[in-house]
Symmetry: C2
């Protein structure tokens, strides 16, 4: 019905405080290696989708500025936004542009500059990613406060402890320390997390991902082009997307994200893959509790089973399903638009067997990316597979 689409090139900037580079320069740090990795030139790219939430910098047309700087002028162009899933929404848009025959080769760029903020602070802007006029403005709900609701609900239902949350941070810092692109390069201990400053109880500062700058890029190609360009094309097997209510106060249950549960069902169905056949996953751990919710929403375990998974190391390399072995949002950083694209770059690297000391065993040849926008306002899930 539609054409097969594969990832044939990946690129990644260093994530962190990147005041040394402007938006276009930062994006190009990811675009250039992606083009080289695919063995193409800018002229081959027919369509460019740029995932960036924006509002943090002066440029009102970030996609155009990036496109010109990178030598991509003339290609089809769009900016995609889906809050913290903006990167995945750009991947989905480029995927559909290739799948539908609109173009043979598409570039996805995810980028965000957050450490230098124009106009408003990043906290207020991130806060606005809920329902601004009601929940933020009237009740002062910010993102740590939203996820604290999820954490306390999960704790009440399943006995999740503060140590369990801390274990997620410890795991992800461990792998971040092995990833040269990660914002945080230092392993931490459970005691460090527990002793850190409370932001919105039970979440402490080490339960929260940092505010980062960064970029990632991937190149997608149609089946014929992919086979020409790559010996190891990584196919997009299926996509599942869903949305949640703008008002978190209208959600029925805080111990899971309904949009993620629905998106997962759709993605598994589209890819004809079930969780037992995944070798590795990247999930949206903007806060430690979010990673535990993801284990359950994605069916990596039964409801309430996430605590056992993290305690037993089932999501470490060598465990049942390694999760966020690039450091995750927690340690690699979360430059909003870059995150979903960075996930694709990491999973491609893993399925190609090029992840070095962070390499997971690849048995089934399948991987999953889970990217949440807001607190489940959006969920994009993408499943990849190698031949």
């Amino acid at each position: 019905m539609s054409r097969k689409v594969a990832v044939v090139g990946i690129g990644h900037s260093v994530f962190g405080d990147r005041r040394d580079a402007n938006l276009a320069e930062l994006a190009f740090e990811a675009i250039k290696p992606a083009i080289q990795d695919a063995g193409i030139t800018q002229k081959d790219v027919g369509f460019v989708s740029v995932g960036t939430a924006g509002g943090w910098y002066e440029e009102f047309l970030p996609a155009v500025v990036i496109s010109e700087y990178a030598g991509l002028t003339g290609a089809g162009l769009i900016r995609c936004e889906a809050a913290c899933a903006s990167g995945s929404s750009a991947v989905a848009t480029a995927y559909q542009a290739v799948a539908s025959g609109q173009t043979d080769i598409a570039m996805v760029v995810g980028v965000e500059k957050m450490t230098e903020v124009d106009i408003l602070t990043s906290v207020e802007l991130i806060g606005r990613a809920g329902y601004y006029l009601w929940e933020f403005h009237n009740f002062g709900m910010t993102f740590p406060a939203y996820y604290a609701l999820h954490a306390t609900a999960h704790t009440k239902k399943y006995g999740t402890s503060e140590e369990d949350l801390a274990r997620v941070a410890v795991k992800n810092h461990k792998y971040g320390a092995m990833n040269p692109y990660a914002h945080f390069q230092r392993p931490i201990k459970v005691e460090d997390v527990l002793a850190s400053r409370v932001i919105a109880w039970p979440l402490k500062i080490f339960d929260c991902c940092p505010v980062s700058d960064g970029a990632a890029a991937v190149i997608l190609a149609s089946e014929n082009k992919a086979k020409d360009l790559s010996d190891t094309p990584i196919w997009i097997r299926g996509l599942g997307v869903s949305s949640g209510t703008a008002n978190i106060s209208k959600r029925e249950d805080y111990s899971s994200l309904r949009s993620a549960t629905i998106a997962a069902e759709r993605a598994y169905k589209a890819a004809k893959v079930d969780p037992s056949r995944l070798d590795v996953a990247t999930v949206h751990d903007c806060f430690t509790i979010a990673e535990l919710l993801a284990y359950e929403d994605l069916g990596f375990c039964e409801r309430g089973g996430a605590v056992k998974m993290i305690r037993e190391g089932q999501t470490e390399i060598g465990g049942k399903i390694p999760v966020n072995v690039d450091g995750g949002l927690k340690a690699k950083g979360h430059p909003i638009g870059a995150t979903g694209v960075s996930m694709v770059a990491e999973l491609t690297r893993q399925l190609r067997g090029e992840a070095g000391k962070r390499q997971v065993p690849v048995k089934h040849g399948n991987a999953l990316a889970h990217n949440v926008g807001g607190t489940g306002h959006y969920c994009y899930i993408t499943i990849f597979g190698r031949d």
Copy 2:
């Protein structure tokens, strides 16, 4: 290779100063009639793309707020931005979601609230749609100034007069006065335009589109669904997209928009239609000169032939190819994200034969929408056809 896609439902709000409605309410004024027109319910919609440039209002996640208000929660969701072509970029994204088999029924919502501005003024924000850090910040280039460069270049090359520019405004006000959704409902004369205040010579205030609020919505369906839902499905025959440089100072020629010329070639090729087989078009007349550029960029006449077309009334109803007989951006208004979607609604109405006193003769059954972002930073062209 990909599935056929048709427009099966359209909806439109009144454009103008709409301080009476918030963003979600305004969007719903278009969504509700679109759903009724298609004969579906919200549950049938698998994917929603929202075209909105944003930055004018407090909501940082406009798509989610609109989606919840309209009862569309759970569907796939994305916000698309391509400056003043944001609406068309949302149409393209939904089109590809259906064409690629991702969903059978997609909703496109275009909406913008511009008369009440938060944080910054609309002039500064529109100004930023060029290359902010260079051309706006250093040289004070705003949008009328950009298009004044195009006007003077066109005048120097082809002898375009201020009266010729005024004729575009007069034509579009004439049709705007027949369109109950248009911001301006009053016919004007050439003398009115010439006597109006100069904004950026040779452009006067009556050469400029207004700052408007408004929304439009369309529903797209796959071939099978479209035939079930509609006796008059309007097929998307082809899409052409291109981009231009962020710096207008890097353009080689100001007497045309290169991105529009390229996008037109791509769209005609994809649709297998040439300009002689179009019955009607909507073009991006943000300033009167922009409509004349479009005639030439789209091949409605040879280079330099636009002046003759407007003088001879070739783009009025009954002429060679009626253009902007809904009033265009100039008289209908230009709520940025809504514009591209409004164009689809108008062309659907025309091809169905439901445009009342503004109805054009339909001989070939084809229509074209031309939507420019920035000053040719983006160009989206979509060609439609009826059976």
